[in-house]
């Protein structure tokens, strides 16, 4: 049995990583302002993705939607731990401490998400689904279909909620055409 046929080319997981790690990093950079923590959460997302490969079904959605769903879970878990006052004791996914230049890179990424954080703050009064739809579509660049896959809802429902959220944000002056 040939076990090397998938080693020759770049693996699909590598492609999924390359195509999405930037946006996943931004996703966390909109939520936390510590570079090391952003790194840990990104790291845990991809480690969890490796351990959850069987939950990815290409018939049900794209790798991007799948990875964002994992990122949301990772953040929710971390946030719940924070609320309970129990900081996760060890580095989540074993990535060594960041180098100085990496810290600076991530700090810049966090700064670059200032507008995104402001938009999310203005979405604070929206229902979770609408707030998430705005972020995933307007900030992370997912298609409505992908966002629906990430959020576990139908594309139609997602579009309705997104439209509703946009309308409300326009009324409040937080969004302009």
């Amino acid at each position: 049995m040939n076990t090397t046929d998938h080693h020759a080319a770049t693996s699909p997981f590598a492609v999924a990583y390359r195509d999405n790690v930037g946006e996943i990093t931004s996703f966390f950079a909109r939520r936390v302002d510590e570079p090391q923590l952003v790194a840990d959460l990104v790291s845990e997302t991809f480690v969890e993705a490796i351990g959850s490969l069987t939950t990815f079904d290409p018939a049900r959605g794209t790798a991007r939607a799948w990875l964002f769903a994992i990122a949301r879970r990772v953040f929710a878990r971390w946030y719940a731990a924070e609320l309970e006052g129990r900081r996760l004791a060890e580095r989540l996914a074993g990535l060594p401490e960041l180098h100085e230049d990496e810290l600076e890179d991530l700090a810049r990424k966090i700064d670059a998400q200032a507008d995104g954080r402001r938009l999310l703050a203005r979405c604070a009064g929206l229902p979770d689904l609408e707030r998430s739809a705005v972020e995933l579509v307007d900030l992370a660049g997912l298609t409505p279909r992908e966002a629906a896959q990430t959020l576990g809802t139908s594309p139609g429902a997602l579009r309705v909620r997104l439209h509703r959220a946009h309308a409300r944000l326009r009324r409040e002056g937080a969004l302009h055409d």
């Binding site: 998938h6 790291s43 845990e44 480690v47 490796i50 351990g51 060890e90 890179d105």
Partner: protein, 215 residues
């Protein structure tokens, strides 16, 4: 990619063989699409079952250097059982005998190059340095959540080039006697109607491995 993103990839590739990972889309393209899609559908329908398996099977790691028997089995007061494999070649048979005596619905299955590819299993290569010792804990409560007729399985073996291979999940009885060492993909069951449940994610969750290291 930024330096961080590149180094994270290098870390994932080094620690978790990320560059060897074949995602389902790859399998779908590479093999008979129709049959594969059917199995993926089956897999998706059994998420709860596989989640139960994931919760039941926890991989723990600890260092060891002393001469040891082929395996160790510890029964805990809560009914859970911890199995530590010291010798991949000789441990499987006595472990299974022991598990059978205890009524634990989990079996260890060897992964070999010689095994027919028709015996489906999700086989993962891992670095021996990353797994100096193999230890699983099985809890009865979680195993009761599995669908009727399903058994947990742990596949262990080595590839020709010495890589440690693991597999894991739950499968409808009867379990195969071995798994083929084809990496990172399902071997196609030869009979009609797959008895294969998803290669459950929890078994290989490196996060659990990482946490276990500090135990």
């Amino acid at each position: 990619m930024t330096d961080f993103e590149q180094r994270l990839w290098d870390h994932l590739a080094d620690e978790f063989n990320a560059d060897d990972i074949v995602m389902p889309i790859d399998r779908t393209i590479a093999s008979q699409t129709r049959q594969r899609r059917r199995r993926l559908t089956i897999t998706a329908g059994l998420t709860a079952a596989t989640a139960a398996v994931a919760a039941a099977v926890v991989l723990l790691i600890s260092a060891t250097t002393a001469t040891q028997p082929a395996y160790a089995l510890v029964q805990h007061p809560d009914g859970s059982v911890t199995v530590t494999v010291h010798n991949l070649r000789t441990a499987i048979k006595p472990i299974n005998t022991h598990l059978r005596e205890l009524g634990i619905p989990v079996r260890f299955i060897p992964i070999t190059d010689a095994c027919p590819a028709s015996n489906g299993g999700w086989v993962y290569p891992v670095k021996p340095s990353q797994y100096p010792q193999l230890r699983w804990t099985f809890t009865r409560q979680e195993s009761r959540k599995w669908p009727a007729g399903y058994w947990g399985y742990i596949g262990i073996g080595r590839s020709d080039d010495g890589r440690l291979l693991l597999a894991g999940g739950a499968m409808k009885s009867p379990l195969p006697s071995c798994f083929n060492s084809t990496l990172g993909r399902f071997a196609s069951p030869s009979s009609s109607g797959s008895n294969l449940v998803a290669p459950q994610s929890g078994l290989f969750r490196p996060l659990l491995v990482q946490r276990a290291r500090s135990v």
